[in-house]
């Protein structure tokens, strides 16, 4: 489902990637851990072309990305992003839209669904995350956990093949974090390929089939440094 070859990014505001290579199978959940500033978020953003890279290639959900976004048309980007969902660490829920409007915006505008169809799809997912009663609330009226779930539903409503999650629980307290991670697992398990980035090892171990460590822009198998050196 995802195949990254020699991905390098030299000038990044946050971090640098040095020849990252990784393959992720369909339906697999992979966690990438590592210290902040190690390039985790940058890698994630490169995977759905929110940021260009300098060298290497990315194959993701049937789409191909080349350095500097070469050969990618706006139409390609739209298809890529309907196939690859993204949840930001800061969520970025649309402040002027209600929960249901946040979730149905892409189906209505990008996929050109009818309002009924879009609303039906959104309500189904909102129901599954326990937010069916909050559809008319604005983001600032929601709790942290509720907001996180809206962001996840917004990314999943287009039925992506891949879901990219940036620190999905970092803003939540322990109990809520566990609830949210449970929700994610329940919604994606086996059907959607998930790449999640976190600095929280327990979460990674709980959710992921495989844990990778990104350090200084290089991807290492999970485990401690001493194990690797041995």
């Amino acid at each position: 489902m995802i195949s990254v070859r020699n991905l390098s990014k030299r000038r990044s505001e946050v971090a640098t990637l040095r020849g990252v290579t990784v393959d992720i199978a369909a339906g697999e959940t992979v966690a990438i851990i590592g210290a902040s500033g190690g390039g985790k978020t940058t890698l994630l953003r490169c995977l759905n072309a929110l940021e260009p890279f300098d060298e290497g290639s990315v194959h993701i959900a049937g789409h191909v990305l080349a350095p500097q976004g070469a050969g990618v048309t706006p139409g390609d980007l739209v298809r890529l992003r309907t196939d690859v969902g993204f949840v930001f660490q800061e969520l970025h829920l649309f402040a002027h839209l209600t929960v249901i409007e946040n979730v149905t915006l892409a189906p209505l505008v990008v996929r050109k669904q009818g309002r009924d169809e879009a609303t039906r799809g959104a309500l189904e997912l909102l129901h599954r995350v326990g937010l069916a009663h909050r559809t008319t609330a604005y983001p600032h009226e929601l709790s942290g956990g509720q907001k996180q779930r809206v962001a996840i539903v917004r990314a999943l409503v287009q039925h992506p093949k891949v879901l990219l999650l940036d620190e999905p629980t970092s803003a939540l307290d322990g109990d809520t974090a566990r609830e949210v991670s449970g929700t994610i697992t329940e919604l994606t398990r086996g059907r959607i390929t998930v790449v999640l980035v976190t600095h929280h090892e327990a979460l990674a171990n709980r959710m992921a089939d495989r844990v990778l460590r990104l350090e200084n822009g290089q991807l290492l198998p999970a485990g401690t440094r001493s194990e690797l050196m041995a």
């Binding site: 759905n48 929110l50 706006p74 980007l77 739209v78 298809r79 890529l80 992003r81 309907t82 969902g85 993204f86 930001f88 660490q89 800061e90 969520l91 970025h92 829920l93 649309f94 402040a95 002027h96 915006l105 892409a106 505008v109 990008v110 983001p139 600032h140 942290g144 907001k147 917004r154 990314a155 287009q158 803003a171």
Partner: protein, 500 residues
């Protein structure tokens, strides 16, 4: 052709409201316990007020060295010589010559000042130094040969002129200008049906145009006189004496001949009395005034709303262009904003209405609306640009991550948020536009402020028309100001920063 007049006289000739009712025993700034004549003699100079914008042959700038020349310069010199002093010219706006005289800005007003009953009530007037006729100018081939046949059409003239009084006394609709060339330009363009002005002006600025025709015979006639403050009886006597002496000696005729102004009218000057008799006695506020003021206010609000409705989408488009990645579009939009913000609205109105008239022939109202819209678009562009930039970057990124294109992101995510941010500033700008709309009177639109300056002349007082005008502006702008306040409060409430 005159250069574009950049200075608009928004202040019409106002009566001395401070002195209302007390028959002018007290005066303005000048010391009046003694006659100005003593001051003139003591200083050794006679300061005379006029407006260089009046143009050839009255008072105008010598193209060589920019000092004032004209037949009135020569007359002033002759008068000063008679008084044994030097003459010094003082530049003043023509339509406010009388109030400037009353304020004490100069000793006498000497610049095509016509002898009218209204002026007679207000200041002292000398014996005449020139006899003029009012000449009607129409487009060549026009069927109209008299003022009566132009009833129902607007007739161009100068504000505060004798011709203006003549038109009004006959119930005709005047279009008011501040310069002598523009009425004839508008006549050529068909914006007015005819122009009524002094024969001196008509001969130089109207009859010379191939497309225009001067109707022979004076519609009315009158005289130019020197204006002197009330209370300066001795100065008036000295000026009268000087003018008579100048006439007797033949010097006046020499001067007028030098400027090609001598004609049969001048022979009879001593017998000329005012032919047209415009309403002269001060009247009081009537229901008709109220109706005219409300009409003026409705024109003000109509122009403002139309202009703002145009300025909004233009400003929005400019703001988006300024944020575009493409350099040319960004550059063009920036240039537009800087030019329209960096030059006076008044100048833009003149250019749009007069200078560009050979290319685009706009009616006065359309030019007013478009001029205000073009100017305010620049300000709205900055409001929207700021508002768009203040929407958190993550909002656009989230839209992109969902597959929204650039335009979809703007339309569905950025604009709905930025418009709310911009709303208070937009409301404030509309209030500013409402007041700036008074400037369109320079292109002959009679809106609220113009209505006020006209009424001030008829009522011989600024106070009542001024208060009525202010009250109407306030009535229109205050609810908007409150609305802006409320919007701002609501915005502070709603648009909490997106918690991380």
């Amino acid at each position: 052709m005159l250069a574009l007049p950049l200075v608009a006289a928004l202040i019409a000739e106002p009566p001395a409201s401070e002195q209302q009712g007390t028959a002018a025993t007290t005066q303005g700034a000048a010391p009046h316990d003694r006659d100005t004549l003593d001051g003139v003699r003591a200083r050794g100079e006679l300061v005379w007020g006029g407006d260089i914008q009046g143009g050839e042959p009255y008072v105008f700038e010598d193209p060589a060295d920019h000092h004032p020349i004209g037949f009135e310069v020569d007359i002033a010199d002759a008068l000063a010589q008679h008084l044994g002093v030097r003459a010094r010219f003082h530049q003043a706006d023509w339509s406010s010559l009388v109030p400037a005289l009353e304020r004490g800005d100069f000793d006498v007003a000497l610049n095509g000042l016509e002898d009218t009953p209204a002026r007679r009530d207000r200041i002292l007037l000398s014996v005449p130094y020139f006899v003029f006729g009012e000449t009607l100018v129409v487009r060549r081939g026009s069927k109209a040969r008299s003022l009566e046949e132009l009833r129902g059409e607007r007739i161009g003239t100068l504000n505060q002129s004798y011709a203006y009084d003549t038109l009004r006394s006959r119930g005709l609709a005047p279009a008011l200008y501040e310069g002598v060339s523009e009425p004839y330009t508008d006549l050529e363009l068909g914006r007015v049906g005819g122009v009524l002005l002094d024969h001196v002006i008509a001969a130089r600025y109207g009859c010379t145009r191939p497309d225009l025709e001067c109707i022979p015979g004076d519609v009315a006639s009158g005289t130019y006189v020197v204006g002197i403050r009330r209370g300066d009886a001795r100065l008036k006597a000295a000026i009268d004496d000087g003018l008579s002496a100048t006439r007797r000696s033949g010097r006046l005729r020499d001067i007028l001949e030098k400027w090609k102004l001598w004609d049969s009218r001048q022979e009879s000057s001593s017998h000329v009395t005012t032919v047209a008799s415009p309403p002269s006695s001060p009247r009081s506020w009537t229901l008709a005034d109220t109706r005219l003021f409300l009409e003026g206010a409705s024109i003000t609000i109509a122009i403002s709303i139309a202009a703002f409705l145009l300025a909004l989408p233009m400003g929005l488009a400019l703001a988006l262009a300024r944020l575009d990645r493409r350099g040319t579009l960004r550059w063009l939009a920036t240039a537009y904003v800087e030019i329209f913000r960096g030059t006076p609205l008044l100048l833009q109105l003149y250019v749009l209405y007069f200078a560009l008239s050979p290319l685009v022939r706009l009616g006065a109202m359309s030019a007013a609306v478009l001029g205000l819209a073009l100017n305010y678009a620049a300000y709205e562009a900055e409001v929207h640009r700021g508002a768009l930039l203040s929407v958190p970057h993550g909002q656009a990124e989230a839209a992109r991550s969902l597959g929204l294109g650039r335009w979809q992101t703007i339309r569905h995510v950025l604009l709905p948020q930025s418009l709310r941010i911009a709303l208070p500033a937009m409301t404030n700008d509309f209030v500013a536009l409402l007041k700036d709309s008074s400037l369109v009177s320079v292109i002959t639109v009679v809106e609220l402020t113009k209505r006020m300056t006209i009424a001030a002349v008829d009522l011989r007082g600024w106070l009542l028309p001024g208060l009525a005008c202010a009250a109407l502006y306030f009535t229109m702008s205050y609810p908007l100001a409150r609305l802006a306040e409320r919007l701002e409060r609501r915005l502070r409430h709603d648009q909490r920063p997106e918690p991380v």
